[in-house]
């Protein structure tokens, strides 16, 4: 195996964060390439439906400071305030740039970018393109990628980071179409591989979302931050968790229990259906657990919006409901329930996307900057991919252009090759899907919307057992290997956080937020084949923790 190519900057993952990072690095003068196990336009960023948050002030008065405050509060005060302020300040300019590149946004009466209300936001701040905002952004970024003729190693499965002299210097990949390992050297590497929703059986995430980048970083000793913080989206379709956008509630849809009651009046009397996602998911789960659900669901009712509005602004949502639930939302409410959606946690980075390993960066859902803290607001994920993708791209390019060498020691390649050969040669042992399904089902049961100490402890043992059983063939198995390590980190961090904050809810033993002991981030590093827990303070600038009500 020889080094396939060398570049200044290599971006792993080609969703919104990865493509935006690559464009920025290229424009800064670096030689850039992307590595992705699926073609860029197949990326799961395209499934983001509702929109992207920026204080443009097109629908009502708004400013970046209000956006920042909403985000801090939404994060249950675990978000780093410096990172949040940067995001909210740079967001409007970054959205205008997307529009100048050709993003097909929906429009206001006076021809500006349209914005809709979203959960826990003080103003209608979510810029949107009907209910296909992510798709529109993926398209426009891929168009810009094409214009710049950037190299994409597409259908290359990134498996292992190359570290030499305490620097990240490339990535070893499995070429999915031609087979074989390929090494791509780089002065800087940006991880933009998205989330790990496939840890759960009911998830909005694509099959591709197996947390590859997080696990690769973990394996070279880099810390993962706030891994216990997995967001459950309140409106996903049974049985597999297909996403129904928060935009439905932004447009005015109701959530009803089996008695036809808008139950949120008992949980979030002011914001109602536009409360924060963690709040609504808990409310739904409580209704379902207390017997007021409808076959394990609650009902999302948008009939009162009328056919015209549904067809114009929620066309894709109607199509999803009809295809996957057999329900036409013009006539019937859609059965929905909480499903695993977004990882607030990820690779620990600073506000330029830098990790603790020189030359290694991360952006987007794979990273934890942290702008979302313990709970992300709808519409902030796409914004983070763009703004922090851009920043990571800029810094990675600058570093690469001021450093000259790339070295990939042969021993690294040989090791990888040997390990892969062993995997391929294995003919006995379990098929990966059994372990995968067991992991996904038990995570849902034991590390879901509500968490109990004894269940989390049991899950920890269960994962350890699964890791022992884990052995097998190529890609699916490599992905599963990543997931098992991430699940381990999540359980370790979740048990250590003995409080309820944002997505981490422990109503049975620690029902309250505990700012005295736990207003801090968890960090998990991998040491000698086992997770090691550490803590990191929250960066605060303007806002002290308050009681959080909606």
């Amino acid at each position: 195996m020889a080094v396939e190519a060398k570049h200044d900057v290599v971006v792993i993952g080609a969703g919104c964060a990865g493509m935006r990072a690559a464009i920025e690095a290229h424009d800064a003068g670096a030689d850039v390439a992307l590595v992705s196990k699926i073609h860029p336009t197949r990326s799961h960023s395209g499934a983001a439906e509702g929109g992207i948050n920026a204080a443009l002030g097109n629908a009502s008065e708004d400013d970046p400071e209000t956006h920042a405050y909403d985000t801090v509060k939404g994060s249950d005060y675990l978000g780093d305030q410096e990172a949040i302020e940067i995001l909210c300040q740079e967001a409007p300019g970054d959205v205008y740039q997307l529009e100048h590149w050709g993003a097909v946004f929906s429009r206001t009466e006076d021809g500006r970018i349209a914005q809709r209300p979203f959960g826990a936001a003080g103003a209608p701040r979510t810029a949107y393109a009907a209910d296909i905002t992510g798709h529109v952004l993926v398209q426009v970024l891929y168009e810009q990628l094409s214009r710049r003729e950037l190299k994409v190693y597409d259908e290359y499965f990134a498996w292992r980071l190359v570290v030499d002299e305490d620097r990240c210097q490339g990535v070893i990949c499995w070429d999915l179409l031609d087979g074989g390992l390929k090494t791509i050297g780089a002065k800087t590497v940006i991880i933009a591989t998205g989330g790990a929703g496939r840890l759960y059986v009911g998830t909005t995430n694509a099959y591709a979302c197996t947390g590859d980048g997080m696990a690769m970083a973990l394996r070279v000793g880099v810390a993962l931050e706030d891994m216990e913080m997995m967001q459950f989206h309140p409106t996903t379709l049974a049985p597999t968790g297909v996403l129904i956008t928060e935009g439905t509630r932004g447009e005015g849809a109701y959530l009803l229990n089996s008695e036809g009651e808008r139950f949120l009046k008992r949980y979030a009397p002011n914001a109602m259906e536009l409360a924060s996602r963690d709040v609504i998911s808990r409310a739904e789960q409580t209704e379902i657990d207390e017997g007021r659900g409808v076959e394990g669901n609650v009902l999302l009712d948008m009939r009162h919006l009328g056919a015209e509005r549904i067809l114009e602004r929620l066309h894709g949502t109607r199509e999803l409901a009809m295809t996957f639930a057999g329900v036409d939302p013009i006539y019937e409410p859609i059965p929905v329930r909480p499903g695993a959606h977004y990882h607030m946690g990820g690779v620990d980075t600073d506000v330029w996307g830098r990790t603790e390993l020189e030359g290694l960066y991360a952006a987007g859902e794979a990273a934890c900057v942290s702008v979302h803290g313990a709970n992300r607001l709808g519409g902030n994920a796409l914004m983070e991919t763009i703004t922090y993708g851009k920043r990571a791209g800029a810094h990675a390019a600058e570093w690469a252009l001021t450093h000259t060498t790339v070295a990939v020691p042969e021993s690294v390649e040989r090791d990888a090759e040997r390990e892969l050969k062993q995997l391929l040669a294995r003919t006995e042992g379990e098929r990966p899907w059994r372990i995968r399904d067991e992991l996904a089902a038990t995570m849902h049961e034991n590390f879901g919307v509500f968490r109990r100490e004894e269940q989390m402890a049991r899950q920890g043992e269960l994962i350890a057992g699964l890791r022992e059983r884990y052995e097998n063939v190529v890609v699916q198995a490599l992905e599963l290997g990543f997931l098992l390590e991430l699940a381990t980190c999540m359980v370790v961090a979740g048990r250590a956080r003995k409080e309820s904050r944002g997505a981490h809810s422990r109503p049975y033993d620690f029902p309250e937020r505990d700012d005295v002991n736990f207003l801090k981030h968890t960090l998990v590093r991998w040491r000698d084949g086992a997770p090691e827990l550490d803590w990191k303070p929250v960066t605060m600038t303007k806002w002290q923790p308050q009681e959080r009500t909606y």
Binding site: A47, V104, F105, H135, P239, R436, D437, A441
Partner: protein
């Protein structure tokens, strides 16, 4: 137990299907039949997953989002392109049908259901798929000011997820593999119709070259098979209309189309005898005189003299004037495809006012007043 069965108590069904297996390294091709138990809500993609997990791990296909947005899982079912994740199996099973699954058409097969998308993407790139900024960039650095009505012109084209289903079914591409094809041209219309794009004329010139818009045979299979309602054939028609509006009519196809309009306006019929000279030119027409006379002798074309004028030709002329008056030039003059018509009917039935994106700006749809 599968992931699906663990998660729901859904009743199951026995699914049977045949899959064309293919190995490009050996060239071996084999139609294999499978039978598996799947939950009743299973899609074709879920069934393939069950087969791959439990029956044959070597089965190759692409997948990712399983919610009709990533465009990975295009393949053929009984000879027509579908997205596997959008295809529910229950009705097929109930009907007793045993569908045959194969790789998409018009693209080389790599393995089983995986095709080489390289030709697809090279055509995508050939149309210059990025905005060429030009005019009216706002001084304040903010967004361009564009009405929703104006953006609606490219609404359908911007729904495209690059799955390749249209390309798979394209008849023109089958006879001319160089044809730019429905996906690339729909993408082209996405820019031609965008008021922010300053490259309209250059684009239209490019798309009018050989292997361009006039190669389309108008079979409408692309509209039929597109899983997202993009209606690529309509986009190609819009490009044709925009070309003629901009005076780009050098291609026979354009001349052909123009003569149809002229014929209908003057006589209410197609003036077939003049069609060849008007489309292909005098020289070509003379060369084909013998053939034309043969056709006339067998009654296949009406004699050119006396001119054959329809009884109610005035109506045809009025329609022509009406379209002109409404300013439905270029793309705006194109009547939309079946998806749009279905939607109009739906709205009419349910008494909603028409304001749907499929409808062109400023124009009442053809039969909205009924």
């Amino acid at each position: 137990m599968s992931e699906a069965i663990l998660y729901t108590d859904s009743p199951t069904m026995d699914v049977r299907l045949k899959i064309w297996r293919f190995d490009s390294t050996t060239g071996d091709r084999e139609l294999k039949e499978y039978e598996v138990e799947a939950p009743e809500w299973a899609t074709l993609l879920d069934v393939l997953d069950i087969i791959k997990d439990r029956v044959d791990g070597s089965l190759a296909y692409r997948k990712s989002c399983r919610m009709m947005i990533c465009g990975s899982c295009g393949m053929r079912m009984d000879g027509g392109a579908v997205l596997a994740c959008k295809t529910r199996m229950a009705d097929i099973v109930a009907s007793g049908r045993v569908p045959t699954i194969s790789a998409m058409g018009n693209l080389p097969i790599v393995k089983d259901l995986v095709v080489d998308m390289t030709p697809f993407w090279s055509k995508f790139r050939a149309i210059g798929p990025w905005l060429r900024p030009g005019y009216d960039r706002p001084d304040d650095g903010k967004e361009y000011r564009i009405s929703q009505e104006r953006m609606n012109v490219i609404h359908k084209e911007s729904l495209c997820i690059n799955c390749g289903c249209c390309v798979s079914e394209c008849n023109a591409m089958e006879s001319d593999p160089e044809f730019l094809g429905p996906q690339a041209l729909a993408k082209g219309m996405r820019f031609v119709g965008d008021p922010r794009d300053a490259g309209t004329v250059e684009r239209l010139e490019d798309y009018n070259d050989s292997h361009g818009i006039w190669d389309c045979t108008r079979c409408y299979y692309c509209n039929e098979r597109c899983p997202k309602g993009v209606d690529p054939r309509d986009a190609i028609a819009k490009l044709g209309a925009e070309s003629i509006k901009h005076g780009i009519d050098r291609d026979m196809g354009a001349k052909h189309a123009k003569w149809f309009v002229k014929s209908a306006m003057t006589t209410g019929w197609l003036r077939e005898a003049e069609l060849v000279p008007k489309t292909q030119g005098i020289v070509s027409a003379i060369k084909q005189t013998g053939f034309a006379l043969e056709l006339a002798r067998h009654g296949k074309v009406p004699p050119p003299f006396p001119p054959h004028v329809a009884e109610r030709v005035k109506e045809a002329r009025l329609l022509y004037d009406l379209v002109k008056e409404q300013g439905r030039d270029g793309a705006l003059g194109i009547v939309q495809g079946e998806h749009a018509l279905a939607r109009i009917e739906f709205l009419e039935e349910h008494g909603a006012r028409l304001n749907a994106p499929e409808i062109q700006p400023g124009v009442e749809p053809p039969h909205a007043e009924g």
